[in-house]
Symmetry: C2
Subunit: 401 residues, 2 copies
Amino acid sequence: MKVAILGYGTVGSGVFDVIRENQEIISKKVGAPVEVKYVLDLREFPGDPVASVLTHDFADILNDPEVRIIVEVMGGLHPAYEFSKQALESGRSVCTSNKELVAKYGAELIRIAQEKKCNYLFEASVGGGIPVIRQLIRSITADEVEKVSGILNGTTNYMMTKMREEGVAFDVILKRAQEKGYAERNPAADIEGHDACRKIAILTSLAYGKQVDYEDIYTEGITGISDVDVAYANELGMGIKLLGESYRKDGVVYAMVAPKMLCSDNPLYPVNGVFNAILIRGNKLDDVMCYGRGAGKYPTASAVVSDVIDAAKHPNVNIPILWSEEKLVLGAKEDMVNRFFVRVPVSEKEEAKALLPVAKAVALAAYPEEIAFLTEPMSEGEFEKKTENLTVFNRIRVEVK
Amino acid sequence: MKVAILGYGTVGSGVFDVIRENQEIISKKVGAPVEVKYVLDLREFPGDPVASVLTHDFADILNDPEVRIIVEVMGGLHPAYEFSKQALESGRSVCTSNKELVAKYGAELIRIAQEKKCNYLFEASVGGGIPVIRQLIRSITADEVEKVSGILNGTTNYMMTKMREEGVAFDVILKRAQEKGYAERNPAADIEGHDACRKIAILTSLAYGKQVDYEDIYTEGITGISDVDVAYANELGMGIKLLGESYRKDGVVYAMVAPKMLCSDNPLYPVNGVFNAILIRGNKLDDVMCYGRGAGKYPTASAVVSDVIDAAKHPNVNIPILWSEEKLVLGAKEDMVNRFFVRVPVSEKEEAKALLPVAKAVALAAYPEEIAFLTEPMSEGEFEKKTENLTVFNRIRVEVK
């Protein structure tokens, strides 16, 4: 079984290594040896074992009938989309870790794979090494999915963990994360929630079988979270996590990416550092959570190779994935219900109490000029309306169990 | 697609309900309606919707060619084994939650299913609603499994959680768990670790592809854990959990069921109450953990029905499961390496320190007559030898990360 890898970056070289180093176990699972015949990259890698299989031309791969599986780990939309489409149209299976591409063109590529009796597989596109895609597609099949909620971005989870542990400001932690290589030099995709947004779009599309456009998902990053918020969360025994969430209520699907305060009995609460975790709630199964390394060369490569194994075990057979191109219209953000944590000046304490359904008030000696409240559950629209005349220092959603 | 359910107990009636209530989603996944045609039980259920499909004779099911899938949720070895074997030999798929049967005869039944081009599926046999079996068989396929470690029994985890929270004695908690229905009147299978042992035997067989006999696994329950041990664990910031564990080292597979002290950074540490969780370590993937309800009518039934869906989607096709009848000879218990927590009389403090590689000493004001040590990692054999002349009040293994 011959494989071609498109892109010899971090994940691509990881896939190359995993296929070589775990050869024996992989052959056993497939029932035949799996071998990398080509690696496509524009660069040269003199002295690297990849040199002997390197090509700069995608046509070499497309014209070689021996190649049955193509691993697309180039990232970005183009030419990854064109290459993936051509590969599928030629009847070859494609395995990818490219979340942008899956979120944008997943439904179409899945349809083409179905028509051509091959497979478009993307386990590594969400949660790195965590097998959450298979869990949704193939394990949690007897249930109506009621909710998906996940810590989907390791960079921001690392930052929130450090802010909590050390009580220092956002900018300090961001700088340190960049120095350690946990955050990019341009960290916007992570800290503004775009990465998590694409991932929850993919999971929601799979959970409900229709195309969720990530542009439709209200997305708020962690840039507004300060050390003051973290101090309140600590006082409340809660943790702040950037969550990608979607749920179905009365037949309508809602989705959002935003930081949330979690109680210590929430299974996502103890998920710290660069780890990711995804909680899925089925109507019969209740909560199942999967936890692991959401990124990293080898965990991600392992997930890609598990797809290669699946593709190799299903030559000329499409593994059905229910994700149609029909657009899923999400419910309005204004109707989503949460508790809120809200900080206002002490001078507006009585006004806030009169306006909001307050469940609990919190004052910290270190910040005598302000007071914070936890509200009862209320809709986003209601919260916005009731706080429009208040001076709100910050507000963070609080997970309602 | 017609299904027969053997046994209308808790899980059986759950399967009956799930197939009826989630009909729409299940039909969509299978591509055809799935319907229960028979339920086998010796009892009568007048007025229950099951009455119209109830039979007392397995032959009714075996003689009906319309029935393609048989759900075996009778429990126990006999006649569950004979019925399952007959069903598979007739080319019908069997889906089960029966861990005793899977642990004992799984390899044989898997072979028969393979020969007859049908399926023997057992997702619900370990971890209830947690899809850990599929994770091992179908998701974590690109990796050499280095370790499997799980909280596999909800009753004991509930008890250990309560002992920790309330600081009361084992017998008090056991009585309360029995009153609440979390523990059986005869609790031996749970508290002596036999249930966890069967489950880790199944997981280990799947992880390494050969038959692990549960009789070969050293098994220690939680009956030896006292409130004094829990007090020390609290002082150390650790939790005591009953773990089923197996790992491969230098080509040899080791397995054990025993209570272990876990540090707070272990992903299994925050798993409390009746929840189960299983951590799998791959050589490339690192740690993946899956968490959920390890028991309960609907979570378990949902897992069984997910197998029914798989069976329905694969008529006359065997989904390969690598678990041969060849016996896997486990490494000797004496060679297994752990840190140990050990409590000795104060009078033997110096002797213990001279004998053991002590990493840390702990004294509690409430127990002035004794002292506890955490050792450096050492083998079971070495520990036994070095402590044979000491008065050991108790010793608990400590997880080495």
